[in-house]
């Protein structure tokens, strides 16, 4: 026997369900606590249980997931050691994770376009974790690597192109992080979207930062570049498709 207890609060379905615009909105009545009094019946309802859990625990789980790279780095630093040049290791590690999270953040929309699954509610957290890791990356440079040597840092930023673009990307990310609150989104209105398009520039500068740092083996930075181009291509393709669709509807109405 299966009993379902309704919470009476409409909760949007975990976005894995249904295609984009398919109109499927599951309320809590369909996806709530289920008390199983046997093991035979609940398999068909199991999806619902998972959906509910994801809706409720998705963000906390993602939060923990995003902290795992830092946890691993800390564990290594404390128990395994970071090798002969720990400062360089921290720099590479936090830089890698900044780029990865940035690309994951930028993958949310293309993923929706391609698969119909919208993870838009996770995007802010992903973006803020990108900023979190770039802050670690920057602080490692500022405090540990350069030890507040302003003169040396200025020289580094001005003279070395890979530092110049990396620094620019970091500075550009600051306003995006600051304006990520609900209040700011409301206050900025249309301009918010315009401002947050700077993330594309950040991404381009970010992958250039990596490409120009590498001495001879470009393979890894090229992988990031290819992924970035693919993600941007999906957006461009989608925009073009929408334009065509819009023109067609207009043509029909006229």
């Amino acid at each position: 026997m299966l009993k379902t207890v309704c919470l009476h609060t409409p909760i949007p379905a975990f976005p894995l369900a249904g295609g984009r615009g398919s109109g499927h909105r599951t309320t809590a009545c369909h996806a709530t606590f289920q008390f199983c009094e046997g093991t035979t019946h609940y398999s068909s309802e199991m999806n619902m249980v998972i959906k509910f859990n994801a809706a409720r625990y998705g963000k906390p789980v993602l939060f923990v997931l995003c902290l795992l790279p830092l946890a691993w780095l800390t564990y290594k630093a404390l128990f395994l050691g970071l090798g002969a040049n720990p400062i360089e290791k921290i720099s590479r590690y936090t830089g890698d994770w900044t780029l990865r999270l940035l690309l994951i953040t930028l993958a949310v929309t293309p993923l929706r376009i391609v698969s119909g699954w919208s993870g838009v509610k996770y995007r802010r957290m992903l973006g803020l974790f990108t900023f979190f890791y770039v802050c670690l990356h920057f602080c490692n440079w500022l405090v540990i690597d350069q030890f507040f040597d302003v003169d040396s840092m200025l020289k580094d930023v001005i003279k070395h192109p890979y530092v110049t673009v990396g620094f620019a990307a970091f500075v550009l990310l600051i306003p995006l992080a600051v304006t990520s609150t609900n209040a700011m989104i409301k206050r900025l209105g249309k301009n918010w979207k315009r401002l947050h398009q700077a993330v594309y520039a950040v991404a381009v500068l970010g992958v250039l930062h990596y490409l120009w740092l590498v001495k001879a083996d470009n393979r890894e930075p090229l992988i990031y570049i290819v992924i970035l181009i693919a993600l941007l291509a999906v957006r461009v393709w989608d925009q073009a498709r929408r334009k065509v669709a819009l023109r067609n509807t207009r043509a029909v109405t006229v």
Partner: protein, 317 residues
């Protein structure tokens, strides 16, 4: 009841080796000793196998050694560039583990009295081994202090008798992608090549190193034989050398071919000439927290500055 109290000198029955075991062991040792003796004839160390960790004998100290405290063997052997074994600085220690360096031959070619191919042991045998504790400054702005064991390059060159036409000496690394997996990808134009002007090569500071910390050079550090020129950036110190060529023209060197704007033929450590990626005025000594100032010619100016008198070092970087 008799209680037997064992004297400390008394042998317990459990400590006595079974006859079959010790006979087998004896036989094994005899065979091994025979094999070792046989191999000694062809070994430059008089030992069966010149692998890393084998102690080098009769190493004399040198007045050219620095007083800076050396880096640990762990640091020196786990963090270095050796693209033939991977592009990450932790790769060589892993990837070069099974690199076999015996037998090893070195070809001597070009403007030289007797071009020939030498077995490594013959190449080295006539010379005394010296310990040289040198600073090493990488172009990537990190540095170490390394107790090499080697032979003054000048001594070897004198023995090889280059002709008056020899203005430069070119060094070439082994090219064997099966043994050096990093060469399977064309990250650099293989084989790795380096070169020195003749007067640089004849300078008493320049050595060919065959050891580290009094022992045979570990594979990842350029076994079995590598160049060490302490007043130049690390990449000049070509590893696993199989060829010396005496030439009239300045040879094309690997990194200068790869990035001519960034790396030059001379590659003298110079805090005044910046690199497009790294500030060269400072360096991080591995194991230290704060960066230290980079010294001109890596602190060997007194010895080598005269080699470059009148040269514009910003142009000839």
């Amino acid at each position: 009841m008799l209680i037997h109290v064992r004297k400390t000198s008394e042998v317990q029955s459990s400590e006595i080796t079974d006859r079959r075991v010790y006979e087998a062991r004896r036989k094994f040792l005899q065979t091994a000793a025979g094999a070792a003796l046989g191999a000694a004839g062809i070994s430059w160390l008089g030992m069966s196998d010149a692998h890393a960790g084998t102690k080098l004998n009769n190493v004399v100290k040198s007045r050219y050694s620095t007083n800076d405290p050396p880096n640990t063997l762990q640091d020196i052997t786990s963090y270095n560039n050796f693209y033939e074994f991977g592009v990450d600085k932790e790769d060589p220690a892993q990837m070069a583990k099974d690199f076999v360096t015996t037998p090893w031959s070195i070809a001597v070619e070009g403007e030289v009295a007797k071009p020939a191919v030498y077995q490594l042991e013959d190449f080295i045998k006539p010379h005394a081994l010296e310990e040289r504790i040198y600073r090493l400054r990488c172009v990537e702005a990190w540095s170490m202090v390394i107790p090499w064991v080697g032979i003054p390059l000048a001594d070897i060159i004198k023995r090889l008798q280059p002709t008056s036409k020899a203005k430069y000496v070119e060094f070439v690394t082994l090219h064997d992608p099966a043994r050096m997996p990093g060469q399977k990808r064309s990250v650099l134009p293989w084989p790795y090549r380096e070169g020195l002007r003749m007067d640089e090569a004849m300078h008493p500071l320049a050595i060919l190193a065959v050891g580290l910390y009094g022992e045979v050079l570990p594979n990842q550090n350029g076994a079995p034989i590598r160049l060490v020129v302490p007043w130049k950036y690390g990449f000049k110190n070509i590893k696993s050398i199989v060829k010396l060529r005496f030439v009239e023209q300045q040879p094309a060197t690997t990194w200068a071919v790869q990035g001519p704007r960034e790396y030059g033929f001379y590659a003298n450590v110079n805090p005044e000439v910046d690199h497009p990626r790294w500030t060269q005025s400072k360096e991080r000594r591995i194991g230290e927290f704060l960066k230290r100032k980079t010294l001109k010619f890596n602190g060997y100016a007194e010895e080598v500055a005269s080699l470059y008198a009148g040269m514009d070092l910003a142009k000839f970087y």
